[in-house]
């Protein structure tokens, strides 16, 4: 019989403690809030649903189309050199690790479901090994802490548009498949709105990183609201396809 070690059992205990501590200030803040302050997710349109990325090149009603993309991001010379020196086998997508929101929101075939809960909007990706999950906390400032794979996302409504501001990224992810690096200063601004009577979700994604980019860069993607279910997609189910 093999001897078992259970790192996740121990981790779970550690996280339970972190969890309990994280809950304390929240409990202290909760009272005395008005209804709108408690439920900022209700201030804008309901984005709840399943979405699939519209293929690049597709033309939508009103001449809407995907524009730009991670591959076109303008890098400073040093970053260009870093990207050139990278190898495709170093792409963390090949290890089934998160690729970061900047790449994920433009990932071919990306499918996600969106939920709203008190004070937050959540995005789950079908390929959740690459996309992980996003929790967007509404009407709340950024919180300090260790760098994260998907960053710390806060959102607010600008009329019918959800504006999401994300910082606190780790430096593991690339900005595109060609190895474009970023620093911990990376900041993403996403503007989400429903278009064409709610059939499509538009996202305008802007990346800023003064250490790496020549300036802010924005791409646009459209997601179709679809009537299908998200499937269970386990990226590392077959390790033969995962590079060593």
């Amino acid at each position: 019989m093999p001897i078992r070690t259970d790192p996740y059992g121990l981790l779970a205990a550690a996280f339970a403690l972190t969890f309990a501590l994280a809950a304390l200030p929240a409990a202290a803040q909760a009272p005395a809030a008005t209804t709108t302050a408690e439920r900022p997710e209700l201030k804008g349109p309901d984005f709840t649903g399943v979405y699939q990325l519209v293929p690049s090149g597709a033309s939508l009603p009103g001449g809407l189309r995907n524009q730009g993309g991670p591959e076109e991001i303008p890098l400073q010379p040093a970053a260009q050199a870093t990207a050139r020196a990278s190898s495709p086998k170093d792409d963390l997508a090949k290890l089934c690790m998160p690729v970061g929101p900047f790449r994920m929101m433009a990932w071919d075939g990306n499918k996600m479901d969106v939920y709203r809960s008190p004070g937050r909007i959540t995005m789950l990706y079908e390929n959740y090994f690459l996309g992980h999950m996003r929790t967007i906390y509404l009407d709340r400032p950024h919180t300090p802490g260790a760098p994260l794979w998907v960053g710390d996302s806060v959102g607010r409504w600008d009329g019918d548009t959800l504006v999401v501001d994300t910082n606190r990224f780790n430096e593991h992810t690339w900005l595109n498949s060609a190895g474009a690096p970023h620093s911990e200063d990376l900041r993403l601004t996403e503007r989400y709105r429903l278009v064409d009577g709610g059939k499509y979700l538009e996202v305008r994604m802007t990346a800023e990183d003064a250490k790496v980019l020549t300036g802010p860069y924005t791409y646009t993607r459209y997601y179709e609201r679809v009537n299908t279910e998200i499937q269970e997609d386990i990226c590392n189910d077959d390790l033969e396809t995962v590079v060593e």
């Binding site: 479901d113 008190p118 794979w149």
Partner: protein, 288 residues
């Protein structure tokens, strides 16, 4: 050693899966109707149910005031399952490798009977589904994402997955869940207690203790692996709305992930070698 049950199981699979999948939804239908009546979703259920929950696997085996923990969390579940496992399933467990097959250690989902049944999680909801996210220290990679569909019956031919095909309906304030269509990669518990694709999980979730706690009564059956079904009850404390969802990742640096993949592939080669030396002509890759 595990060729006999494995092969028997596989050769019988075509017939069993088809028969089982035809039979299960009707069985589930009958049993849920017998225990209660389907009702419309309770008003405001989404607002009440969504949020973060604290697991019962915390030190001290917490339960809400006045509620008894019927079966405390593992290791007692392990003993319970052990008393019900059919001999071949026990033998299958003995030939199971933690390094190669424990989903919790290889960054794969542990299924609804492990993390989801003990650790903290988040519930998300829309009109047509309730989604349970996470449930172990490995985050969503091991805790998984399980979607419970509220407005449909079981799929006629569901893909066999880690979390199965889960459907739910309301009986008053209780959410009644029926899940079938599982693959064989997850375990009954943290021990290698193996189930088959006939795993059938029925759950009743309801709020207790002034709506501060979610009670899950989980009934597990697998007519090919267990001699009888078993039922456990678990409690989860609802946390304040503002509680953050922590980012957790199994093997969370590229270095750790690469080192592990290397190690895994080495284990796989060693295991294969060991089996050859034992005179077995069964290849692990064929088995899997």
């Amino acid at each position: 050693m595990n060729r006999v049950p494995g092969t028997l199981w596989r050769s019988a699979m075509g017939v069993i899966v088809i028969a089982g999948l035809c039979a299960l939804p009707s069985v589930a239908q009958t049993s849920s109707n017998a225990s209660g009546k389907k009702t419309a979703a309770p008003a405001g259920w989404q607002e009440k149910w969504v949020g973060m929950y604290e697991g019962q696997d915390r030190e001290g085996k917490i339960a809400p005031p006045g509620f008894k923990v019927l079966y405390p969390p593992e290791p007692d579940t392990i003993e319970l399952v052990d008393s019900l496992l059919q001999p071949w399933a026990k033998a299958r467990g003995l030939t199971t490798s933690y390094e190669l097959e424990d989903p919790g250690q290889i960054c794969r989902p542990t299924g609804p009977l492990r993390g989801n049944a003990t650790s903290e999680f988040e519930l998300l909801a829309s009109a047509e589904k309730i989604t349970i996210v996470g449930g172990t220290g490995g985050g969503i990679l091991t805790g998984g994402i399980r979607r419970i569909y509220l407005n449909r019956g079981h799929l006629k031919n569901p893909p066999l997955t880690y979390y199965g095909d889960s459907v739910g309906h309301w009986e008053g304030d209780t959410l009644v869940i029926d899940a079938v269509g599982f693959n064989e990669k997850t375990w009954f518990s943290r021990d290698p207690q193996r189930h088959t694709e006939a795993l059938h999980i029925r759950e009743r979730w309801k709020f207790v203790a002034n709506d501060g706690w979610l009670e899950k009564t989980i009934t597990v059956d697998d007519r090919f692996a267990l001699t009888a079904p078993y039922t456990v009850t678990r409690y989860f404390e609802k946390l304040p709305d503002a509680t953050a969802q922590p980012e957790r990742l199994c093997l969370d640096t590229p270095e750790a992930r690469r080192a592990w993949i290397k190690l895994y592939k080495r284990y796989e080669r060693d295991y294969e070698e060991e089996r050859k030396n034992m005179g077995s002509n069964v290849s692990l890759t064929e088995e899997r």
